[in-house]
């Protein structure tokens, strides 16, 4: 976003008129903005961490969740803090740049003041700057990199592989990458990445003999210090995504094997041991309590922007657990001071990537332009205008999910709609055109078929209970790190702290209770079965948006929540 000073001041006036009390000093002071990225180097071993960029090469809007409920041991603990609870816990001033990056508070106004986030050209400038003061540093990518945009879907991940090589990624692990299919992943790893990016996963083995599919770890020398990075792919890939993409591989957390790997690298002299993980933060916190010898887990998957690490004590001492958000919005910077064979101290900073504070890197900008050029016409097609903020992230329906559900139900003439609870998907501000690119940001997957099924009330409840348990099971090892399935047409109540099979109640369609034995017409998309056929979701929604022309008064259907009093993962963010 490039603004003249005059436009900027007008915007500020509008923002304050809307009740957005800006911290005028930090917002207006160019000097402070210049210092925003002066992050003092520390120690002699530095790791830079990006994760879950979901192929967002261009700067985006991204609204953080208002609802991110923690249950069991996660109750009111990071990452299950939203809005002002998050700010208070981490001591972040309200209305600051950081508050805008980390919460949904005053999102629309703050967005207009502070601008878009991420973008690989801006990220490249920041990474170069950080690396200049941190010689020998490694750049680690936690995965979910080759999925999430139209261009990466249409190039089967090629645009992101090219961008990551230019960005200087040293090591990566994966999750959504696997939905490109085992052959494509193997081909990229064995050809394109060779000599550039090491692809690590200690927890992926063959179904038949349990042979490792990928290298489990990498031993690097950083300024004379031996550092081990171990890779942990998303353990539930064949469950959360269709297993037919990776029919011969099995995943899982593989705690025992991880401990063996940690012991092995320690035996080889590693003084710093770090797990590059796609487990999700709750799973990483539990893992850190049970596996010893890891100094840090640099985590992703759950898209939590967590400003400081959680310190987990275990039999080997302690492990720092981080999570570095999504969509290219943040870079995690972990600096260790290693002397006399051991870590003496550390510093961690989660650095937001503000597109209007960073000059885009020319070489990266050129590469991105080249990648996008063949598709520009298609990407820029304006489908409709939105008068509302459209977003996805949160435990229950976001407004963009509601648009998808409305389109799906209308097009398929269905009473009920299901849309997956993905955590990726960017945000639109009121007054923007919804382009094909925006729609693909919400839907670009390799199994986009729409489906229509007749289901009994009991079956519908069964599906909702199943997904709800994947979100709210008190044992993190039994969660999958997605949000609740987005439900259209159907009103319901949800009791996150109830046991499996007992969380969903008061299911009503047009005010009438759902009948367990009656059949209902249900539309959905993203089927798990390889044989499912159906029009891709983006065609269905695009057609509907073109007809609508303007989107307004979107009412995301969220369940009535039961038994969540005092939960600091729930705030209300004005639309």
């Amino acid at each position: 976003m490039s603004l003249s000073r005059r436009e900027f001041l007008q915007m500020l006036a509008a923002a304050s008129a809307a009740g957005f009390a800006l911290d005028s000093r930090s917002a207006l002071s160019a000097a402070e903005d210049n210092q925003f990225y002066q992050i003092p180097a520390f120690g002699n071993v530095s790791l830079l961490h990006i994760t879950d960029t979901h192929a967002q090469l261009m700067p985006v809007w991204f609204r953080e969740p208002s609802i991110n409920i923690g249950v069991g041991g996660s109750f009111n603990q990071p990452p299950h803090l939203t809005g002002e609870y998050l700010l208070r816990h981490f001591g972040i001033p309200a209305h600051s740049r950081d508050a805008y990056a980390l919460t949904c508070l005053d999102f629309n106004q703050a967005a207009r003041v502070y601008g878009k986030v991420g973008g690989f050209a801006h990220l490249a400038t920041l990474i170069k700057q950080l690396r200049a003061s941190r010689p020998g540093s490694l750049l680690l990518d936690g995965g979910d990199t080759w999925q999430g945009s139209a261009t990466t879907l249409w190039t089967q991940g090629q645009d992101m592989v090219d961008a990551c090589k230019l960005l200087g990624v040293d090591i990566m692990t994966a999750h959504w990458e696997f939905t490109l299919g085992a052959d494509r992943v193997q081909s990229l790893v064995n050809n394109e990445l060779k000599g550039h990016i090491e692809f690590l996963a200690q927890n992926v083995v063959t179904n038949d003999f349990g042979d490792p599919v990928f290298k489990p770890y990498s031993l690097r020398d950083i300024n004379g210090v031996k550092v081990a990075i171990i890779g942990q792919a998303f353990p539930y890939t064949p469950i959360a995504n269709p297993s037919h993409f990776i029919p011969d591989w099995t995943f899982g957390i593989q705690e025992d094997h991880l401990q063996t790997m940690v012991d092995e690298v320690r035996g080889k002299g590693a003084q710093v041991v770090v797990l590059l993980s796609h487990n999700g933060m709750d799973t990483d916190l539990k893992l850190a309590s049970r596996v010893h010898g890891m100094d840090a887990i640099l985590g992703g998957h759950t898209h939590d922007g967590v400003p400081s690490p959680t310190i987990v004590k275990n039999s080997g001492g302690q492990t720092l657990v981080t999570n570095a958000g999504s969509n290219g919005k943040f870079v995690g910077v972990l600096d260790f001071d290693v002397r006399n064979g051991k870590i003496q101290d550390y510093r961690y900073k989660l650095v937001p990537v503000f597109a209007n504070l960073l000059k885009p890197d020319a070489e990266m900008a050129q590469l991105i332009d080249k990648s996008r050029a063949p598709y520009l016409d298609k990407l820029q097609e304006k489908l409709a205008l939105t008068e509302d903020t459209l977003f996805r992230r949160g435990n229950f329906n976001g407004s963009f999910d509601q648009v998808i559900l409305d389109a799906l139900m209308a097009s398929k003439d269905a009473e009920i709609g299901f849309s997956p609870g993905f955590r990726w998907g960017t945000t639109l501000l009121p007054g923007e055109h919804i382009t094909m690119e925006h729609l693909m940001d919400q839907t670009a997957i390799t199994y986009p078929a729409t489906t229509v099924n007749m289901m009994t009330g009991a079956q519908i409840k069964g599906i909702m209970e199943d997904v709800c348990d994947n979100l709210f099971n008190p044992d993190p090892y039994r969660q999958q790190g997605g949000d609740m399935v987005r439900v259209g047409g159907l009103e319901y109540s949800c009791t996150p702290n109830a046991s499996m099979g007992n969380r969903i109640s008061n299911m009503r369609l047009h005010g009438k209770p759902i009948d367990a034995s009656k059949k209902y017409k249900v539309a959905g998309w993203a089927p798990m079965s390889a044989s499912a056929q159906g029009e891709p979701i983006w065609d269905v929604v695009a057609g509907w948006l073109r007809d609508q022309k303007t989107i307004r008064n979107v009412k995301p259907l969220t369940p009535s929540l039961i038994g969540v009093e005092g939960n600091h993962g729930i705030v209300s963010c004005a639309k």
């Binding site: 959360a240 995504n241 297993s243 997904v467 994947n470 090892y477 790190g481 399935v485």
Partner: protein, 156 residues
């Protein structure tokens, strides 16, 4: 040639495994192949009945039975289960999937000197406890772990 290895294993695994066990003398051929199939135990429709009919009723909890199962099954039709008994004098290991239509899934018998270790795959109807019972020195022991079986989808 992994493809060939897989094809070979799929077709020949049962025979090869059985042959190996006979060759090393670990399997009591008479008992394994005789017609004394415990039909009452394997067709029992609930856990208590299945345990009673297979002779494991009243088993005491033991952490010396090590049980390796996934927290969430990748495929409920083939859930990997690995059992090691550290209880001295173990003569049999039985695997139950508590909420299956017929909970008793398998029973393995061991002659003296055989290492009480089993690695197999079981079919699970839905999320439930996998119970593993052991006979040793005329006594019975049990340990359990829950395995989640989910329809999946909607991840991350």
């Amino acid at each position: 040639m992994r493809q060939d290895r897989r094809a070979f294993l799929t077709q020949g695994s049962r025979l090869a495994l059985l042959g190996g066990m006979i060759a090393t003398g670990f399997l009591n051929i008479g008992r394994a192949l005789a017609a004394d199939w415990n039909s009452a135990a394997f067709t029992a429709k609930n856990m208590a009945d299945a345990m009673a009919k297979s002779g494991y009723a009243g088993a005491a909890h033991s952490n010396d039975i090590l049980l390796k199962v996934p927290d969430i099954a990748e495929n409920g039709a083939v859930v990997p289960v690995e059992v090691t008994s550290h209880i001295p004098g173990t003569t049999s290991i039985a695997i139950f999937s508590q909420d299956n239509p017929n909970p008793l899934v398998a029973e393995f018998q061991f002659l003296p000197g055989a290492m009480p270790f089993v690695s197999t795959r079981i079919k699970m109807a839905k999320t439930s406890q996998v119970q593993v019972a052991v006979k040793a020195g005329g006594k019975v022991y049990i340990n359990a772990k829950s395995v989640k079986v989910t329809a999946g989808g909607c991840g991350g």
